[in-house]
């Protein structure tokens, strides 16, 4: 057996004047050069279209106040033209000194799914193709929390069904989110008040974040989203429920358009059994603090150290 030659010991081949590799390389470079010239001389119309497609002058996080205002105006004009509705887009920032938390009472949820539909309506999620940010999982009481055998597609005449309990899942707004770490363009990040948000104009639709999320919380717009004109919620936030284009990821934002105005998220308000609780974790008198301090609280997939802001508890 001959001693293998290491990479750094191999004699370097001096490039032949006109070896076969050279010819291929030159032809390739020549072709690329011609292509570059052709592109540069392209008619200005296509360049304009490209510019129009780019709404923002950069990543939302990097825009200054004036640029943000310009962006909001442009978005509003576009949405009004597209939908005919009097849509407003705001960019309300996080309230200083506030960190949101959410708690869901597993002993109360009956699996009626009203939260999923209210969320869809409030956040202008596409009806066709259907996107719902909340997924209500039916689980077996005997088995406990077992995602592998949970059923999101249960059909029932009445709920709750005997022997089952219900666990709605949406974005857990993790304090240590895996999704924001994997985004190749930093189109998703964690806001100071806790929500993980997405810049819909910067998202390239690679769906790495969807692969990273352990809760299956993110949704992708495989098709052009469509919401019937009469059902559109015109009060939108640029990082929340404004109309999204095809090809971007979206997810629960704790109704950023509501909570930054001091209101409860839509799911909290619609729940007929009062299973959902929301509030400011830093306020010692808030409902969320009461739950965490007094009730049996759990988080999903705790071993992954995502540290969710979404807590599940047993009210009884």
């Amino acid at each position: 057996m001959t001693t293998p030659i290491r990479e750094h010991e191999a004699p370097r081949q001096t490039p032949a004047a006109d070896g076969p590799d050279d010819v291929h390389r030159r032809r390739f470079l020549g072709a690329m050069g011609k292509l570059a010239v052709a592109l540069a001389a392209a008619p200005t119309a296509s360049a304009c279209q490209l510019a129009k497609a780019m709404v923002a002058s950069g990543r939302f996080q990097e825009l200054g106040p004036a640029e943000k205002e310009a962006l909001l105006a442009k978005l509003e004009a576009r949405y009004r033209a597209e939908t005919g509705a009097d849509i407003t887009v705001e960019a309300t920032e996080a309230i200083p000194g506030v960190e949101f938390g959410y708690a869901l009472d597993l002993s109360r949820c009956v699996g009626c799914r009203r939260c999923a539909y209210a969320c869809q309506k409030e956040n202008n999620a596409s009806r066709d193709p259907q996107i719902q940010w909340i997924r209500v999982l039916e689980m077996d009481k005997e088995a406990g929390v077992d995602f592998a055998h949970a059923d999101a597609y249960y059909e029932a005449e009445k709920v709750p069904r005997e022997g089952h309990f219900y666990l709605p899942v949406a974005c857990q707004q993790c304090r240590n989110p895996p999704c924001t770490k994997v985004c190749p363009v930093q189109a998703t990040w964690k806001e100071p008040d806790g929500m993980v948000v997405i810049d819909y104009d910067w998202c390239i639709g690679c769906r790495y974040c969807m692969a990273a999320c352990p809760y299956g919380a993110r949704r992708f717009n495989w098709g052009t989203p469509s919401v019937p004109a009469g059902e559109l919620n015109p009060h939108t936030h640029v990082l929340g429920n404004r109309p999204r284009p095809k090809g971007v990821v979206e997810k629960c934002t704790f109704c950023i358009q509501r909570v930054r105005q001091g209101r409860y998220p839509a799911c909290v308000e619609i729940c007929p059994v009062g299973a959902r609780k929301f509030g400011d974790l830093r306020d010692p008198t808030s409902e969320i603090r009461y739950v965490i301090e007094r009730k049996r609280v759990l988080v999903l997939k705790e071993e992954l150290n995502t540290q969710p802001r979404f807590f599940y508890f047993y009210g009884t």
Partner: protein
């Protein structure tokens, strides 16, 4: 700030005759308010972080059956019969499924003043304060409800809220929830 008893009385008196709660425990989501021009959209001069000293609470009126209140319209002139029995002449639509083995009407309804409920101490309370009666036995739920953790609340997480009396969700005579019809299942992904 968890309201103490006097505050609760004040709250109970602040009854808003507004929209009815509706079937169940309120299906509506209050509509969003338009972003006003005064509000700096980008800077976020929106909600305050510190909750107000006394959060305002709005409560719908007790869910009486049509025309049933005031009870004294009929009962003022009637003799009080404290014999525990099944009613035959009136209120036959009420079937008690709430500790029926041990309790009957006059354990909660005051025998001499039917416009009031009675506590175990004999104290008479208004129907607006019925939670005090429920809280006698269901103390843990009562404390949770006072904190906003039991039952449904709408409104602002840092401001005025609208909450419900026990009776708005739980029929006092048959408090256990019946199963409800769920909304349709999500559309499963298409098979390839």
């Amino acid at each position: 700030m968890r309201p103490g008893r006097p505050a609760l009385l004040t709250i109970a008196c602040a009854i808003v005759t507004g929209a009815a709660v509706g079937a169940g425990c309120g299906d509506e989501v209050p509509p969003a308010h338009a972003a006003t021009s005064e509000r700096a959209r980008v800077r976020g001069a929106a909600a305050a972080a510190t909750p107000p000293e006394s959060a305002d609470f709005e409560v719908p009126p007790p869910p009486f059956s049509e025309g049933i209140f005031p009870c004294s319209d009929c009962h003022e002139d009637m003799e009080v019969d404290r014999t525990r029995r099944k009613l035959e002449d009136e209120h036959t639509n009420i079937v008690l499924r709430h500790d029926a083995e041990h309790r009957w009407c006059l354990d909660c309804h005051d025998p001499t003043d039917r416009d009031k409920l009675r506590l175990a101490s004999g104290e008479r309370i208004d129907f607006d304060e019925s939670y005090r009666l429920c809280g006698q036995c269901h103390g843990d739920k009562y404390r949770d409800w006072r904190a906003g953790v039991h039952g449904k609340r709408t409104g602002r997480w840092n401001g005025p809220k609208r909450y419900l009396l026990c009776a708005h969700c739980h029929d006092p005579h048959d408090p256990a929830f019946d199963p409800i019809e769920p909304l349709p299942a999500p559309i499963p992904p298409e098979a390839p």
